[in-house]
Symmetry: C2
Subunit: 153 residues, 2 copies
């Protein structure tokens, strides 16, 4: 079954290169595709403070995809864990999901802060962030994950 | 640019039909594809309490996709908002993203609770949930969204 997925928009501005940390203050614009989306596709979106953005790590080449396990960020002092137990970009299907702040809506142009996707990234979906879609129950994660995220934003 | 996205797994068990509410206690299994993924693709995943699952609303037909605005759940007492300002399944690219509880890992079989995807749903990605990937700063949402989610889990 072929899956017909096409970008609904593109990240414009922000960072040109995928550096590891300090994404928090980075501002960018998601320019949505007005050929396919109607002008009212973002109606009411400004009522939300945050977005969940689904995007494609399109700069990752086929041979950069891990199908088994690896050390996160290549750090030998962190355990070797499966690609589905980390959020690295070199993953099957190259899909990224990230929550960012929505700072402005101008028709099909969304101004965002703290989106960890580089300039030119194809955007596959934009959803409003609803707190009820966060985790239910207490959250647990390994020590390496907490350490990795320390300077991320 | 064609995007090559293929399922990495399938939802087995759980609900057979997409009903609106009370997904919280529903248990299901994500059966990952061992033809493509290595047996160590889930190594270390059990250290996380929750997953973020990216999946395809594959039962949505082309003519059920909204490209502009609609009333969430068809409720005329809620405002008509853009498809990107709601999380309805009839959306461009049909991509769903949901956080659920991970209750067991048996190789490439993941036992989950509270995944709002019906039996047979193609899974496009599985990521560990890390609290740092939640929203930064205070969260705001419109009243209709809070009301809609009241009995969802």
């Amino acid at each position: 079954m072929p899956i017909d997925i096409r970008p609904v928009g593109t990240v414009v501005g922000g960072r040109g290169d995928a550096v590891d940390d300090h994404w928090g203050p980075v501002e960018a614009t998601i320019e949505l595709d007005g050929e396919r989306l109607g002008p009212d596709a973002t109606a009411g979106l400004a009522g939300f403070s945050h977005l969940e953005v689904v995007f494609l790590f399109d700069r990752v080449a086929d041979d950069e995809i891990t199908w088994g396990a690896r050390h996160p960020r290549g750090r030998a002092d962190w355990p070797e864990v499966g690609i589905l137990a980390q959020r690295a970009k070199g993953r099957p299907n190259r899909i990224g999901v990230s929550v960012c702040e929505l700072i402005g809506v101008d028709g099909l142009r969304l101004r965002v802060r703290g989106l960890d996707a580089v300039e030119g990234t194809p955007v596959l979906d934009v959803k409003p962030y609803m707190p009820a879609f966060g985790p239910r129950g207490p959250v647990r994660q390994p020590a390496w994950a907490e350490e990795l995220m320390r300077d991320y934003w």
